[in-house]
Amino acid sequence: MNDVLKPGQTYDSKDHAEHGFSYGRPKQDGVDTTHGAILYLEDITVSFDGFKALNKLNLDISVGELRCIIGPNGAGKTTMMDVITGKTRPTSGTAYFGQTFDLTKMTEYHIADAGIGRKFQRPTVFEHHTVFENLELAMKMNKRVKPTLFFRLSAEQRDKIDAILKLIRLEGHHHRPAGLLSHGQKQWLEIGMLLMQEPQLLLLDEPVAGMSDAETERTAELLNELRGKHSIVVVEHDMAFVTEIARDGQVTVLHEGSVLAEGSMQAVQANERVIEVYLGR
């Protein structure tokens, strides 16, 4: 029984994608990104009883890019992530992961499996599992029933978990139930879980909310390390942090469900409309 896929090995996951069920198939290692973009959102509209949380939103993320998204409270940033991860079905519009994965037709676990990982705005971890188990659960492997039943942790995998534990500074806590962690610790744990998943696209919804300035800095360092290895989308309100990680990459400003401005951090910060609706004077 091989629990973990060897590089290059793939499972076919086409046939069940449209139905509401499928085995938890491991991701295809190669998302087809021949055109250089890993995520395309086109004309995405999400409407809740007439209220448009997203309004014809367009967004492209290229492979290896680190994109920051900012925007007023209620602009639709979280909703956008909901659409990408299959939590919310858009009312209209298309969303593609690479060339082949139509995200609007896939289930949450299938999307996760295909290589999109997400950190939620409110930290969500398995509260009754220990920190260690949280990481073990998130670890990249064949997530079907049988392999899970016969799974044995290898030394390599254990090392990986230990490394991550260190990274998120919860080494001493690995036997504690995650529910007993403080708010900020949960944030970290969730980032750790995300890393265990080894996704190609990371979605981080307000990763430094509730972190102290020092910790925010560390997170920025971490993201800078990951830059290039993964494609990353970060939503944040902390301008210092955004400036730090955006460097000279693109920053997108959402407002009322669509893109208000896009450009370098300096350009965006200077934008009158952005100042008016978001930054304030």
């Binding site: 509401g20 069920f21 499928s22 085995y23 938890g24 991701k27 991860t85 939590k87 289930t107 949450e108 676990y109 299938h110 996760a112 499996d113 990982g117 997400r118 969500t124 971890v125 398995f126 509260e127 009754h128 599992h129 188990e133 073990e136 659960l137 998130a138 997530k143 079907r144 029933v145 899970t148 039943l149 016969f150 799974f151 879980m193 998943q197």
Partner: protein, 364 residues
């Protein structure tokens, strides 16, 4: 493998389990080897009672697997128990042969409904092996089909509990109908023999008893192995936050379906062992109240511990048997009070009490 086998339980837990099993195994032997009146004699009534409790314990164990670990509260496990029982009962009915009231090769109730031959769904039930297959398949398939649709629709929490209750209630009404072909309200009773052995013979009873004990132990080990595997941790994650689990790439459907079906099958086996020992199976086993009682056994013993539900099934039923005879007019007060006191003062059940006791000793 052996090392992982022995690591299923802690050392003291193993000792306790094996000691209990040995004592239980001794009961029918004492019953057979010593004449009534002898100091070491154990009455047939006691053996029959303990045999019944072991079946209940197995049902409670099965329920704990889905409830305690996966957070799926079934208020309809009685239906699986009963289906296993009915499947075995069909064989036992056919084994009566011509010894029924009407000396027909049909069961009395069919003669009585003017049926001339067995309906199709009774085919092959005269073969013991096929009946045993049915014991597994009937509850298994029902659980699989029911679970598949329910879990696929992401029915959760009380909604799931209530539709399991609706399911068992519907089955009860269906089996109460005489036209359904399972003996209506009377169900199956008055069995004569099993595999050629007289069912009331003390030796047959002892063997049935020992098989039940073995099945219970086997089920315990199997469940324990499952919950300590990584799959067990996934199940608990399903219980705590199913949606989060999906975002890290698991499809909860198959995990839930796996334990749900397994649990139903274990429950069906318990029912199948119950029928020859108790001597009757009828639709009241599917009444919603019976399923709720199973939940109560698990809760009283300590949910999510596997051993707890077994202890719970023994203690609740033991008390009930004692109370109904000792205070026939007041027993419901006593039983009701116990349920209340257990929930208020032992939120982790009886096993929780043991834990607490051990902890307090450790710290002291």
């Amino acid at each position: 493998m052996t090392s992982s086998f022995s690591s299923l339980f802690s050392r003291p837990a193993w000792a306790g389990i094996l000691a209990c099993a040995a004592v239980l195994a001794l009961l029918p032997i004492l019953n057979l080897s010593f004449p009534a009146g002898h100091a070491l004699h154990v009455s047939g009534y006691t053996v029959a009672l303990v045999g019944k409790f072991m079946c209940y314990a197995m049902a409670a164990l099965a329920l704990d697997l889905v409830w305690g670990y996966t957070g799926i509260l079934s208020l309809g496990h009685g239906v699986f128990f009963a289906l296993g029982g009915y499947a075995h009962g069909m064989y036992l009915m056919r084994a009566i042969g011509h010894d029924g009231v009407y000396q027909s090769n049909l069961p009395d109730f069919m003669v009585f409904l003017d049926w001339k031959s067995y309906p199709w769904y009774w085919s092959f039930t005269d073969h013991f092996g096929f009946a045993m297959l049915l014991v597994v398949l009937a509850p298994g398939l029902l659980a699989f089909a029911f679970g598949f649709f329910a879990f696929r629709s992401r029915i959760k929490g009380v909604y799931f509990s209530i539709i399991t209750q609706a399911m068992t209630f519907a089955f009860m009404l269906l089996f109460f109908r005489n036209n359904t072909g399972f003996g209506g309200n009377n169900g199956f009773t008055d069995f004569k023999r099993i595999l050629g052995f007289t069912i009331t013979a003390p030796a047959t009873k002892a063997v049935l008893y020992l098989i039940t004990l073995a099945a219970l132990l086997g089920a315990l080990l199997l469940c324990r192995w499952i919950v300590t595997s990584k799959l067990g941790r996934v199940l608990q994650a399903v219980r705590d936050s199913e949606s989060r689990l999906m975002f890290i790439g698991y499809n909860p459907l198959w995990f839930k379906l796996f334990v749900w079906t397994l649990s139903a099958v274990l429950c069906g086996i318990a029912g199948a062992l119950y029928v020859p020992q108790v001597g009757i199976i009828n639709p009241s086993e599917m009444s919603p109240g019976n399923s709720i009682e199973m939940v109560i056994w698990a809760a009283v013993g300590g949910r999510g511990t596997l051993l707890g539900p077994i202890i719970g099934a023994f203690s609740v039923n033991g008390l009930k048997s004692w109370f109904t005879a000792a205070f026939p007019d007041l027993w419901l007060y006593a039983l009701g009070a116990i349920f209340i006191l257990v929930t208020l003062f032992l939120p982790q059940g009886i096993l929780g009490l043991v834990d607490r006791f051990r902890k307090s000793k450790e710290t002291a």
